[in-house]
Subunit: 420 residues, 2 copies
Amino acid sequence: MNAEILAIGSELLTPERLDTNSLYLTRQLNEIGVEVVGKAVMGDDRARLTAAIEQARARTGLLILTGGLGPTEDDVTREAVAAACRRELVFHQDLLDAIEARFRSAKRAMAAINRRQAYLVDGFEALANDRGTAPGQWFRDEAGILLLLPGPPHELQAMFERECLRRLRLAIPQQHIVTRVMRVAGMPESDLDQRISPIYTRYQNPVTTILAAPGDIQIHLRGTGPSGAEAQALVDELARLIEAELGDRIYSREGKSLEEVVGGLLLAHRATLAVAESCTGGMLAERITSVAGSSNYFVGGWVSYTNRAKRQWLGVSGEVLETHGAVSAETAGEMAQQARRRAGSTLGLAVTGVAGPTPDSGGGKDGPKPVGTVFVALADEKGSDVRQRQFIGERDRIRQQATQMALDMIRRSFLPKAGG
Amino acid sequence: MNAEILAIGSELLTPERLDTNSLYLTRQLNEIGVEVVGKAVMGDDRARLTAAIEQARARTGLLILTGGLGPTEDDVTREAVAAACRRELVFHQDLLDAIEARFRSAKRAMAAINRRQAYLVDGFEALANDRGTAPGQWFRDEAGILLLLPGPPHELQAMFERECLRRLRLAIPQQHIVTRVMRVAGMPESDLDQRISPIYTRYQNPVTTILAAPGDIQIHLRGTGPSGAEAQALVDELARLIEAELGDRIYSREGKSLEEVVGGLLLAHRATLAVAESCTGGMLAERITSVAGSSNYFVGGWVSYTNRAKRQWLGVSGEVLETHGAVSAETAGEMAQQARRRAGSTLGLAVTGVAGPTPDSGGGKDGPKPVGTVFVALADEKGSDVRQRQFIGERDRIRQQATQMALDMIRRSFLPKAGG
């Protein structure tokens, strides 16, 4: 079964507000096998709302309206639903009694306008609200199910769990949904899609969704079946094919972040890490330490933002800086080695590059490097491995891609070597 | 004029994702006098999308579509718009050339599927994308304006400002709107609102909106008038009253971030800065270096995540660490002094604290400190100033508040002293 969610309230159309009830409802609906195929936000405009309700009911079997059930003039959901369904609003004395009782128990006088909340659309069933005055409403006819819920999240959630889930489960043929999130580092979205779209487009179920962030791609698989085991088997089958195509480019099969995965590898290998950063300015250390428990493997780091800091704090040689420049393979290698030595850690990781907006002025015989040039070095007891990349984008994007590349070098260093 | 925004992408219908482009667009549209009367999210379903575009165009003069312009099979916006407008898709060699040039400059081969991005709906105008491969599209007929923008926020925003604002201003009857964003550090939202709500609730125009993030509050004023000068006068009047109430708690009157404001102060005073961080793990340096040009005042920093790093790299005395613990005023003070001395900078700034989730095990005679305890020290040639705060919330929230507190200590050190 498919659902649409329509959030009602002019405040949700300002530049500052988002409708987050739909996230909660989507999670709940997905768990009982209902797909959300559209969601919308509308203001307190009765005519527009009436038309939107009619259109949504015509195309989708479950329509959930949130908000607009308050006592004031601009709460127009009840009226709009009545108009869309061509039914009357009917006053219910028992609902008014319950609202009055609620005010009495809070030792407050009920305002006359709250009487509006005691009306139901004719033929609709009231859903009790134990956290507010607005009752919800439930209705089912040959066009499908229509559900009216209050806007405040704590009222909506309590009402959904207590009053709606049971009714929905009875009304909907049972389905089971299984999801899997695979993550890939440092691969352009179009390259990745070219490799795996011939695979996933063969499957209508599971549904595949690809999400790209700088240097990071998530592949979401969502399988549906009459039982959990069947849904799982579908997801497993497609996942195996994608894994066979992408191999060790996949860094997580369960949606973990790269910094979590790297932290887990360092712990498992009883390895420790120190970092030396230039262009990323602390972002690499920040990502590593965003993981709770990172003090078990992360010693610390240097943000050697100037040449002087690279020389004096890390001991990068003045000759290297002068000959090759601050943005060079040689400087990256020395930074990683020195970080490792000074920290007494198993590994040393270094990043130097040009985040922009102006090209590098770090010196060296080859002249200024273009914006986006990044060197990453990983040092261990055997020496250091240095890689160069050219990223495109704004300052923050280049920094994010550089940290992603650096973390992925650690992950790859723990992969079993090919052949042999 | 009224607008609707339609975000396209199945990933935006999962329980994890929200469409945030609509917030950016709403802000931009409001500033040129356009009201957003509805917004929606739809999946990559061509038939549904086609119907939604037809319906939206029939009721609203400006329709903005975001997303679904990528190179892959599930990017269906181009096809759906063509179907809704009953027009063909037309290949443009010059667009393909631009896409290929973009790949060449990144020294990558263009995937064949990127060719799909070189198609425009017949009669539509291409909008250049300087941050990605997908061109936008602009169209205007008697039904109104139709605008196709790429989904990635950095691409969408650059394109909107460069290509769309000018076209929209020409197409829309002019209204005058003036906005002002004041920012306040380190004040709870409820305290702030209690002080200024008696002031701003007296004004229907400007409209006041308050947005709170960890340790940071934005006060948005939006005034509307028949002329720019009248709108400006309204905003100025309310802003003066709020400023009189909040005084030097306001760190920016023009929406700048605290790291930008602090950078400007350091530059103006020809001062330089080095940092030493423990619980914030690089986040403080990352924020400072997120500002372009920060190398003019930021020397660098230490992420001294372990006691050993604090001792060996920064020279914090073993006695201080043993007696008072890593999370203490004494350790913070030494870290700041040592950072300043080792960097040869005008100022040294240090943060040590407990980000959680487990209480501090940094030792000291007073035993473990609770989660959320943070010490910040600012050292100059006269000595160091140390402050303690107790924050609440999750790990990331505590780290954000700690960096905010640290940056605000620098700002306050440059304020003229009271009295005298």
